[in-house]
């Protein structure tokens, strides 16, 4: 049976410098690699006779606005069905340059998952056969899952207090842009005490 230690050993043998940040939260081995190497690592995990991580469970991105230069994390969950062990693999990328290689060549399942990640976070998967929005409408001009964008539908005017996520002191649902909130109508930008919301 494959154990986390063995996987870690194999990986550090192959990528001594590049693979870092080994952790085991709740028993699942987690590590990260530079974004240029994401395909190399996935290929190695797939092809290696010992590791055999040949099932892509899921793929998603996470946005960390406060981590400068590594705002977007792309998280792969891969599964070795023979030894029944899971693995989590992350790559970080700057939000200004969210380009990483696509895994569609390796896993057909990655196709839509990457389109979804592009739709939500704007991660540009280089080499993807059909990288366009999948869940949202084509006309949408932002990537809604990024932390700065509001969840709520901004056209509503009936639920306008902070319990409903519009305005208020905690600033829920307000887009924190440089010029103030762009998504909230002018009339709603004033707080009760006369201060702007953001």
């Amino acid at each position: 049976m494959l154990t986390n230690e063995q996987i870690k050993k194999r990986l550090t043998e192959k990528f001594p410098e590049e693979v870092t940040g080994f952790e085991e939260p709740y028993g699942m081995l987690t590590f990260e690699a530079p974004k240029e190497l994401n395909l190399k690592v996935l290929n190695f995990l797939y092809d290696d006779e010992e590791l055999k991580f040949r099932f892509l469970t899921t793929l998603c991105a996470v946005h960390y606005p406060e981590k400068k230069g590594r705002e977007l994390a792309i998280v792969y969950h891969v599964h070795n069905l023979e030894d029944n062990i899971r693995l989590r693999f992350k790559v970080y990328t700057a939000i200004s340059e969210p380009d990483i290689y696509t895994a569609t060549g390796l896993f057909s399942a990655a196709n839509w998952l990457e389109r979804e990640t592009y739709d939500f976070y704007g991660v540009n998967f280089i080499g993807h056969p059909n990288l366009k929005r999948i869940l949202n409408v084509e006309e949408m001009d932002y990537h809604p899952m990024r932390k700065e964008y509001p969840l709520e539908d901004q056209t509503r005017i009936d639920k306008d207090d902070e319990m409903f996520g519009r305005g208020g002191e905690s600033g829920f649902g307000t887009a924190k842009t440089e010029e103030g909130s762009g998504t909230i109508p002018e009339s709603e930008q004033q707080h009760e005490e006369g201060k702007p919301i953001v």
């Binding site: 869940l135 949202n136 409408v137 809604p144 964008y149 509001p150 969840l151 709520e152 539908d153 901004q154 056209t155 509503r156 639920k159 409903f164 996520g165």
Partner: protein, 194 residues
């Protein structure tokens, strides 16, 4: 010799609680019955509504239960569920309508022939429900006029049936001239429908 098939030994009397539509108001005499055309047409329309189920999510599953043998919507004259908008009278929007879906709802509504009615089943179709999000239409009344809203997330089949019965009331009482009136035109205009 052909003879009627009899299943029971003792003949049962005709049950008295068969539901019959009430006769509209009017004057009756020997061999004639006079009433308003309005009421007769209303009576006919309300008991033969053809629904068009526009089921997108959870409420659609409850609608399946409503149509199924247990609750049986057919008892209300809605036996025939049509999937072609051109032949249907009642658009039943059940489930969340995303902004991507909004134009489709409107298209389907436009394809229906007058007179047409709309029922918004469930919280999502009525107001967006718990999904006050960037991608969900906050109530289908933003794109098409709605006659009856059914609350619930999802409504129980009884509630859906109640909604259909309310529609029946509306249909039965509707004036024949309503669809030609200015008020109705103004309503449609407000939705950009000519």
């Amino acid at each position: 010799m052909a003879r009627p098939v009899s299943y029971n030994l003792i003949k049962k009397p005709l049950e008295t609680d068969i539901s019959m539509a009430d006769m509209p108001e009017g004057s009756m005499g020997e061999g004639f019955f006079a009433t308003k055309l309005n009421s007769v047409i209303g009576l006919a329309r309300k008991n033969s509504i053809w629904p068009l189920p526009f089921a997108t999510s959870c409420c659609g599953i409850e609608f399946m239960a409503t149509m199924g043998s247990h609750y049986d919507l057919a008892r209300f004259g809605s036996e025939r569920v049509g999937f072609s908008p051109r032949q249907c009278d009642l658009l039943m929007v059940m489930g969340t309508i995303a902004k991507k879906m909004g134009p489709v709802v409107k298209q389907v509504y436009l394809q229906m022939a007058e007179p047409r009615w709309v029922i918004a089943v469930g919280a999502c179709a009525s107001s967006g429900g718990i999904f006050d999000t960037y991608s969900v239409l906050q109530g289908i009344d933003q794109v098409v006029p709605v006659d009856v809203y059914v609350p619930g997330c999802p409504p129980r089949p009884e509630a859906i049936i109640d909604g259909v019965m309310r529609i029946q009331d509306l249909v039965g009482k509707e004036s024949l001239r309503r669809r030609n009136g200015d008020q109705y035109k103004a309503l449609l205009d407000s939705y950009g429908i000519q």
